[in-house]
């Protein structure tokens, strides 16, 4: 497989009966990139992964790998390898036989395939477990067997379906680091499906945020987190407060918004034409918000400020998450650095003013959009599986 692992999705759509799991997606994942497909369950991210792997065929559009059109090709002809969500280790085969399975299917002799499989196991530090059965391994060990079994095919693209979701918190962080290191070492494309925001931004060169079968935003982790383009991404990534209002004045590259409850916000126009009266949305980073105690409830009385009462306080180690009750703005959160918080602590029920500077706010595209779906919602894909099994 000398070709590169560049993935191109050209206007890919996938329907399951009347349901549309993936809508008209365009995406290019460069060769050697660590890409995370991020979104709530049912957003279509697993379906995209399976279409790249060849376990699902698009209803419309083409899939290219390394420039070659692989639409309709069997999984084995694509140079991809997939690691399944529950690992899908064959329960009746030893670890060694699991890892050697691809070689056995390719007709490699018994001695040769054992030797190669043993070498691959050494690579994931499991050489001592070659004779075990999968059920005798811990979750982390099973994951590494699955990794070895996929990598022995010498793929140009490794597809990982929620690879860390079955592990406990400690192992998850450890394996996260190992996956990243392995990807650097191999230099191949990794596509990793996850519903965990922090996992995606910690790992990926390219984060693709999805919702309802569409790509909301694709970009670097930093761009996704600190400069979300849409209200959906801003809310889903969790680092921002989303505000909205109508443009009242535009001057010197700065626009002033008037919100429905009567607050005024200033923000850079970022080169966009904003006619007066346009309803727009903006995001303000939660960690750039400063809190001041007020003598009592009232209005903030200044631009780029909101008044409210403290609803909840969560200590997070390096910062304190302070959730405010602000009339008209539910879920307004200020992440206050721990030293600043403890220098002037606030308590639940205190009246406070939240302030930020115009440069920490930025414009969002499109309408306010949909609120991110709660975790655990049954997705299209899950429903489809349920149907197939019934």
């Amino acid at each position: 497989m000398a070709q590169t692992g560049e993935i191109q999705l050209e206007r890919v759509t996938k329907r399951f009966g009347p349901m549309v799991a993936v809508r008209d997606i365009e995406l290019v994942i460069p060769h050697g990139c660590y890409c995370c497909l991020l979104g709530p369950s049912g957003c279509g991210k697993t379906t995209i992964l399976r279409m790249i792997a060849g376990h699902e065929e698009p209803s419309a559009g083409r899939v290219r790998i390394g420039g070659e059109d692989v639409t309709g090709l069997a999984p084995v002809g694509r140079g991809t390898a997939m690691m399944f969500q529950s690992y899908a280790l064959f329960p009746h085969m030893s670890v060694l036989d699991n890892v050697a399975y691809n070689l056995r299917m390719r007709g490699v002799g018994k001695a040769a395939r054992r030797e190669q499989a043993q070498a691959m196991l050494a690579r994931v530090h499991l050489e001592a477990f070659a004779d075990r059965m999968p059920a005798q391994l811990s979750g982390g060990q099973q994951q590494r067997v699955a990794l070895a079994r996929a990598l022995i095919t010498n793929p140009r693209v490794l597809l990982l379906d929620e690879p860390l979701s079955a592990l406990d918190e400690f192992l998850r962080l450890q394996m996260r680091g190992e996956l990243r290191r392995l990807q650097r070492e191999l230099g191949i494309t990794f596509i990793h499906v996850t519903h965990t925001q922090l996992e995606a931004i910690a790992l990926a060169d390219l984060v693709v945020v999805m919702d309802q079968g569409r790509i909301e935003q694709a970009g670097s982790a930093q761009a996704i987190y600190s400069e979300p383009q849409t209200a959906y991404v801003a809310r889903f990534m969790g680092g921002q407060n989303v505000l909205s209002g109508k443009v009242t004045t535009v001057a010197e590259g700065e626009a002033i918004l008037l919100s429905e409850p009567g607050d005024r916000f200033a923000l850079p126009v970022q080169g966009r034409a904003l006619p007066v009266g346009t309803p727009v949305h903006c995001a303000v980073r939660r960690d750039r918000i400063q809190l001041e105690r007020l003598p009592g409830p009232g209005r903030a009385g200044q631009i780029n400020a909101l008044a409210g009462t403290v609803h909840a306080i969560e200590y997070q180690g390096s910062y304190v998450k302070v959730t405010l009750d602000v009339p008209g703005w539910p879920d307004f959160v200020a992440n206050v650095a721990d030293d600043r918080f403890f220098a002037a602590p606030v308590d639940i029920g205190d009246a406070v003013r939240a302030r930020w500077s115009a440069n920490d706010a930025h414009l969002l595209e499109g309408d306010l959009g949909r609120a991110p779906k709660a975790a655990g919602t049954i997705g299209l894909y899950d429903q489809e599986l349920g149907l197939a099994q019934a």
Binding site: A53, H55, A74, P75, V76, T80, A81, M82, F84, Q85, S86, A88, F90, P91, H92, M93, S94, L96, D97, N98, Y101, N102, R104, M105, R106, K110, R114, A130, D131, R132, M133, A135, Q136, R149, A150, T153, A388, Q389
Partner: protein, 284 residues
């Protein structure tokens, strides 16, 4: 600790324990009497007390007797049960695989198969006998009776395979396909080995249901009887403890079959969970 617990046992414990004791007595009491009486002495009769102990009646079983052909019918029953076993396993597995895809008419076919469980066995037998007569083909244990047995064993086999497949993770097949396995390779190296315990259960059902089948065989069996029919005939005209010896031998065969099946399932499960000393080529 145990004493403390026994002191607090509610009255329902004793009521249910008594009920269970009665159940066990009713289940095993009469059968035990038969097993004991089958070892009756040479001059003993059909009832207690034992008049000495001997194996005479077992020996008598395997002689050609004017009263009945025990050895022949036993051989026929075993042969028939083995044929039914093989056909039931093969057809049930194939049907189980087929029913995973929703094909046109899947529901109708499923309910028709299950309906044959509710149909009175005697009527099934009568129908098959009449049909063979109508077509001018002679009934026989390996033709008409075989079909009659399959109407009984296949629905069971199908239901077991449904239960087995409902727990079968399709990701195994996808993983194998991802690793370059052809459809045939997936079937032989992944699906069948993982289904093996379920297939043994189907085999066990196929064998035992066929081996002691009576009503469905009764009219479809043709000139040579299976063992249950032969025993039934003999109860009307045999008056020696040989009758009890038949009971003991057939029970022993049943237990042997069950032990074989459960033993092999346990062996497979153990191979999958316990450390295998020598690496084996899985699935071969």
């Amino acid at each position: 600790m145990a004493e403390m617990r026994s002191g607090r046992r509610p009255w329902t414990f004793y009521a249910l324990a008594a009920f269970f004791t009665l159940f066990v007595l009713f289940l095993y009491g009469p059968m035990s009497a038969i097993y004991i009486l089958s070892f009756q002495g040479p001059n003993g009769g059909l009832t207690f007390p034992l008049n000495g102990v001997s194996l005479k009646w077992f020996y008598a079983l395997f002689q050609q007797q004017r009263t009945g052909d025990i050895a022949g019918s036993f051989a026929r029953s075993i042969a028939l049960a083995l044929i039914v076993l093989i056909l039931t396993v093969v057809i049930s597995v194939m049907a189980g695989l087929a029913f995973r895809r929703r094909f046109l008419g899947a529901g109708v076919i499923f309910y028709m198969a299950i309906a044959s469980l509710i149909m009175p066995g005697l009527l099934v037998s009568l129908g098959i006998g009449l049909m063979f007569q109508f077509l001018g083909i002679g009934t026989n244990w390996y033709t008409s009776a075989l079909g009659a047995h399959l109407t009984w064993t296949l629905p069971f086999g199908l239901l077991i395979m449904f239960a087995v497949f409902s727990r079968f993770n399709r990701a195994y097949e996808e993983a194998a396909r991802d690793l370059g396995a052809s459809d045939w390779a997936i079937l032989w190296t992944i699906v069948l080995p993982i289904l093996l315990p379920g297939m043994i259960a189907v085999a066990l059902f196929g064998f035992t249901l066929s081996y002691d089948e009576f009503p469905r065989t009764s009219i479809a069996v043709g000139p040579s009887n299976t063992l249950p029919l032969e025993i039934w005939n003999m109860t009307t005209n045999v008056t020696s403890p040989a009758l009890y010896a038949i009971g003991t031998v057939t029970t022993a065969v049943s237990f042997l079959v069950i032990a074989l099946a459960l033993g092999s399932i346990a062996l497979i499960q153990r191979r999958r969970t316990r450390r295998v000393l020598q690496t084996s080529e899985g699935g071969r």
